[in-house]
Every structure is written in C-alpha cells, then in structure tokens.
C-alpha cells in the first residue's frame, strides 16, 4: 500500500511538472484537506446514527440470534473447527457483524477467530485450510447493510439512496459463492 501510494504521488507530480501544470498541483494541496473534511463529516454523522441503531440491535440480542442461525452453516464450512465452539462463535460474530456493515467492530472478533484457528494449526507459519476459508469469506465481504454507502449517497443528495442495495447484496453473495467454491475445489479435494 505504502509503495503504491508513494508511486502515485511521485508519478502524478512528475507528470504535471513535465506538462508545465504546476498550478494544478498547488491547487490540489491547498484544497484536498478541506474537501476531504467536507465529505467525511456528513458521512460520519449518518454512520454514527446507524452505529447507534446497531448497538440497540446488539444489546437486544438480535445479533446473537442471527449468530445462532449461522452456526449450522458455519459448521459445514469449517469442518476443522467442529469441536471448538468458542472459535466458531468468534467466526459467527465476525461474519454477522460484517453483514450488518459494522466493519471496524468486526475486526477484533476476526482476530480472535484467527487466534483460535492458530491453536488447531499443525504448521504455525503456514495458513490452515480453515484460515483460508475464513479469509475468503472476509475478503468477499458479505455485506447486507452497507451503512457507509448509504451515508455517502444521502450526503450527495441522491434521489434513490437505497436503490443499489439489492444489486450490491446479489454481487456480494455471488463473490462469496465463487470464493467458497474455488476454496472447496482447491483445498478440500482429498
């Protein structure tokens, strides 16, 4: 990431210098801070609202109920963790919290789940197959309620804030489905 970021900045600045468009760079340096601030603040206000709502859902044990529903499916996806209810629990919370769009809250649970899986891992420096499945599930990111995009679209005064949702859900499910199929085919052949 670091290298990509530095390369983008160096190349663009050089490109502008060669084209004699120094004023463009200067304008960007002056305005980018305020521009970012201007969209982060409204974005954050909407996200804060949904964060509040989801905390109610968490405290009302709605998320816990969803985790229970996910258990039988997860047991099939992670046969190596069948007898480790605790780790499977962390996996379930991570997946559910990701689904409702609280990505940053999901990370600590994901890390706990990784630690749990590491205990069952015979080669401590090599990823176990449960870990690969878990990461595929995470990178495909099954998000059913994308609070950030909703916030972003409403702060840009969209006429149809939630119109993208069914399609995003379809795509995210498709991504996870493809990821899991490839994972099964590649890692569980024996």
């Amino acid at each position: 990431m670091n290298v990509i970021w530095l390369l983008i900045i160096c190349i663009t600045v050089l490109y502008c210098l060669c084209n004699g468009r120094v004023d463009v760079i200067n304008a960007v340096f002056v305005s980018v801070g305020k521009e970012t601030f201007d969209f982060v603040v409204p974005l954050l206000c909407v996200t804060a609202f949904w964060n509040g709502m989801l905390y109610i859902a968490r405290d009302a044990k709605i998320l816990a109920a969803l985790e229970k529903l996910a258990h039988p499916i997860l047991k099939r996806l992670f046969p190596d963790l069948k007898n480790d209810a605790e780790t499977l629990g962390y996996v379930a919370s991570n997946v559910i919290v990701n689904m409702v769009g609280l990505g940053s809250a999901a990370t600590p649970m994901g890390l706990k789940a990784m630690q749990g899986m590491q205990q069952h891992n015979p080669h401590k420096e090599e990823a176990s197959r449960s870990m690969v499945t878990f990461l595929v599930l995470n990178t495909a990111g099954v998000t059913l309620l994308s609070t950030t995009i909703i916030a972003m679209r409403s702060s840009f005064h969209s006429l149809d804030v939630t119109g993208f949702m069914p399609f995003a859900i379809l795509s995210t499910c498709f991504a996870s489905f493809v990821g899991l199929c490839v994972d099964r085919w590649w890692n569980y052949r024996d």
Binding site: M53, I56, A57, D59, H123, V136, T162, A175, D183
Partner: protein, 170 residues
C-alpha cells in the same frame, strides 16, 4: 421491482420493537453507539485524506483519463470512470471510497456510473488489507492460496456488479 426505500424504516422498526419487547435500555445503547461512531473520525479522516490526495492528483493531472481512455479502447461497454474503482477496490477501502466520492462529484450520484460504483463498493471487501492484517496478527508467513482465491472472488463480485447495473439501469 421491490421498493427499496422501505428497507431502512422497516429495519429500524424491527430493531426498536424487539428492544421494546426485551426491555432493553435502547436509548442508552443508541448513545453508546453514536459515541463510538464519532470516534471513527480520527481513524477515517487521516486515511481518507491520504487517499483523496493521491486520487485527486491522479485526476487533476489528467493521468487518470489517459489510463482510463487507454483501457476503454480495448474493453468496451464499461464506463471509463469505473476503472479506477475496479483497481482500488481490492487494495484499499479508503482509496475506493475516495474514488466513489470522485465519481459522485464528476458524474453525479444517480448517474449510471454513480450507481455502478456504489454497487461495486458494496460487492466486495478489501482483500489485501484483510489478508495482511489477519495473517500477520497470528504470525503466519505462508498464506497459501488465500490471496488468489480472494482476488478471484473480487473479480466475480465486481463483474456481477457491472453486469447487474448495465442490465437493470443501462
């Protein structure tokens, strides 16, 4: 077609009814959640500023257009504004968020590009970030095939997102 504007009100209603039935101190939970949400500012703003800086430079310098035009001549049917989104989505969530803002600003939030970018943003998560963070947290050096499978899932999700947008909105 389902009317999606009902999703959020019904969700809020559902949460609040359950909270009422289970006698949860919902007001307190809500305040807590918002408080935690506000703290995100100090995480989000620096990362987004870094990304916005790179993306704005790319756009303003004209380099982005050169690259996107280059790709668009080979692959037709996908709006050229979408390409930065496709590249940055697996690399960094904040970078793709910055591209999303950029597309909303230049093409409009309800344009075909705006909708397509929203769906792409929702379709996958940042593969590189998740893999780096999760594996390094438990000291794993050989990641086996997690990265190729993750990227394949990203490609599938993004392709599906583009296909659906062109099919239903195009």
């Amino acid at each position: 077609m389902i009317n999606t504007s009902y999703i959020l009100p019904l969700l809020v209603l559902f949460i609040c009814v359950i909270a009422l039935l289970r006698r949860v101190n919902a007001y307190h939970s809500f305040i807590e959640g918002v408080k935690d949400g506000i703290f995100l500012f100090s995480d989000i703003y620096p990362a987004l500023l870094a990304m916005m800086c790179a993306i704005t430079l790319l756009r303003e310098s004209g380099l982005m257009e050169v690259i996107c035009n280059g790709i668009a001549t080979y692959i037709e049917g996908i709006p050229k504004e979408i390409w930065p989104m496709v590249f940055f989505r697996p690399i960094s969530g904040n970078a793709s968020l910055a591209v999303l803002v950029d597309i909303f600003k230049t093409c409009g939030v309800d344009s075909l590009q705006g909708i397509m970018a929203s769906i792409i943003q929702g379709s996958t998560d940042t593969t590189f970030y998740v893999i780096t963070l999760y594996f390094s947290s438990v000291g794993i050096k050989k990641t086996k095939n997690a990265l190729p499978i993750g990227l394949l899932a990203d490609v599938a999700g993004i392709a599906m997102a583009i296909f659906l947008t062109v099919w239903f909105f195009g």
